[in-house]
């Protein structure tokens, strides 16, 4: 039965949107099943989730992009075939997104202001990109600095979703030497619930999963200490990597094109950061579940972790020193030699002084004087 034929479809809800698009209930339930699995909810939640989503009002979403590369938007919107993830994405009311919206200039900003006023306290604020604190002029939209726009939009937000590593942890803009003084959303907003969805870019279905959770329960999912949804960021890539048996057996590729690499051995020695990276790439994969970097022969670069860009060379094993060099050891040896020479000189002069001060005992002195 098509959703459109159901009598209990409420106007203005996601259900109505689905009905208008001719999405059948079976398809929608399949999507919800996938989402419940992804969110690590019990399968019995599927129907409840479907009901909740279809009855929910279209969630007003304002998307702000600051110091970023638009990769997050690319990731979330790009889909080769129209998937249900995209449809859900359509079914929220995306009231402002300066890359995707048709309006521009004054009209675009007006749309943002209107959405903020009409849905005050209820809209979901999505932010991608870091915020430059060095100088307000480093990044502006319609003449408004990123910081001012974020502070203003955050006031009326029900919750904030920081999308991508730049918004969640500062990402590449914050990488050493951080020329713009970039900070993450959570560095400056302290009074709103913030969901961090890191990744450079994040996996599309993780994004839709977080939105679905918000639509279904009206609350934010359970988060870890870095503000990331535990259901997506609870385990490392390494925990679920299909090359893991090779790691456990100590079988490592030495170069990207040796026999071991061709046989799919572990990429740890080639710099894989899978063991320290919390994300679902290994299970959800990318491009409709086609593959993920490790499956394509390249180690994980740890893009969803804080400061990943400054966390050591991308192609050095995690156990390798980051910046120690042989010349550093040479310098240390030279310092040791100089200090050793100084101590030796000191010791020898002490010895010489002792020798010089040594008074010889004469036979006379040894003769006992008679009383």
């Amino acid at each position: 039965m098509k959703l459109a034929e159901k009598p209990d479809i409420l106007p203005g809800t996601v259900g109505e949107g689905l009905a208008q698009r001719g999405i059948c209930r079976r398809e929608f339930l399949q999507f919800c099943t996938a989402l419940t699995a992804l969110l690590a909810l019990p399968p019995t939640m599927t129907v409840a989730m479907a009901e909740a989503i279809s009855k929910a009002r279209r969630q007003s979403v304002i998307w702000l992009s600051f110091q970023e590369c638009t990769g997050c938007t690319e990731s979330i919107t790009r889909s080769h075939t129209p998937t249900l993830e995209n449809l859900i994405f359509d079914l929220i009311s995306l009231d402002y997104h300066h890359t995707l919206q048709a309006a521009s200039g004054e009209a675009a900003e007006h749309a943002r202001e209107l959405a903020m006023k009409d849905n005050f306290g209820k809209y979901l604020l999505i932010v991608d990109g870091a915020i430059p604190m060095g100088n307000p002029g480093f990044s502006t939209i319609a003449g408004i600095s990123n910081y001012d726009m974020l502070m203003e939009a955050a006031k009326g937000a029900a919750a904030i979703v920081a999308v991508g590593t730049c918004a969640t942890f500062g990402g590449i803009p914050k990488a050493d030497p951080n020329p713009t003084g970039a900070v993450a959303v959570s560095d400056i907003i302290k009074d709103k619930p913030i969901i961090n969805v890191p990744g450079c870019p994040p996996i599309p279905v993780v994004m839709t999963g977080v939105l679905a959770h918000f639509l279904t329960f009206g609350s934010i999912p359970e988060l870890d200490s870095l503000g990331r949804p535990k259901s997506f960021y609870g385990e490392t890539i390494h925990d679920h990597c299909y090359r893991r048996p090779f790691y456990d057996q100590g079988k490592f590729a030495q170069t990207f094109d040796d026999d071991a690499a061709r046989q799919g051995w572990c990429l740890f020695k080639l710099g894989c950061k899978g063991p320290v990276t919390y994300n679902v790439c290994a299970t959800t994969k990318w491009n409709d579940g086609t593959s993920f970097p490790i499956q394509s022969g390249h180690g994980c670069i740890g893009c969803s972790e804080p400061n990943f860009w400054d966390a050591g060379p991308l192609y050095e094993a995690l156990s390798m020193p980051i910046s120690a060099t042989a010349s550093m050891l040479g310098t240390a040896a030279a310092v040791g030699t100089a200090a050793g020479a100084a101590i030796t000189w000191h010791n020898r002069s002490t010895k010489a002084a002792a020798k010089a001060a040594h008074e010889k005992v004469t036979v006379q002195e040894l003769i006992r004087e008679d009383k």
Binding site: M328, A341, R348
Partner: protein, 219 residues
Amino acid sequence: MNHLHLLTFARGSALNWALMLCVAGIVLRLFEIFGLGRKTDLAKPRINSPGSGWHTIFSRSLPPQGMLKREPVTYIGGYVFHLGLLTAILFFAPHIELIRSMTRLGWPSLPSPLVDASVVASIIALGVLLAHRLNNPVKRLLSGLCDYLAWTATLLPLLTGYMAYHHLFIEYTLMLALHIFSVDLLLVLLPFTKLFHTFSVFISRWYNGDIFGRKGVAS
């Protein structure tokens, strides 16, 4: 500071400083030892004893007659611990990689399960040796804070390395950071504590062997 920051610090600046202090400390101590010098022995050697220094370097690695029976824990525990530790440090593939990356010197590694077994043996031996040290009145009397510090500083890298390799108890990022920190600590302590015997043991054995040889005493 999250776990990845800690790991980056442990294998970055902390390791750099630890390595530099270690190398500078070793060179300094060796200079100090050799620089002090000894007075020339003008006396005629009691017996003709060429090579007694070199001989002692090896002979003292073996228990004197009857001692193995009297002190089995000390000898067997000592061997197991030292061989296990050397195997882990010198023949574990990631450690060889580390040495290669800094000095361009490299050699073949042993299979990980073998290294793993030697680490377990080494940890057990350390435990047994500590218990023995605490229970044996003479050893206890001879032990000071520095000995227990050296024991702890040696155990930590073995334990954390084993736990990191097997992904035990705490998450890998933190465990690997702790492992590298424990190595940093060991490197810093090495030149300035009894752990310096790593470098001085053969020097002092040679000296003792030589001087005793000249005096006509077996060593």
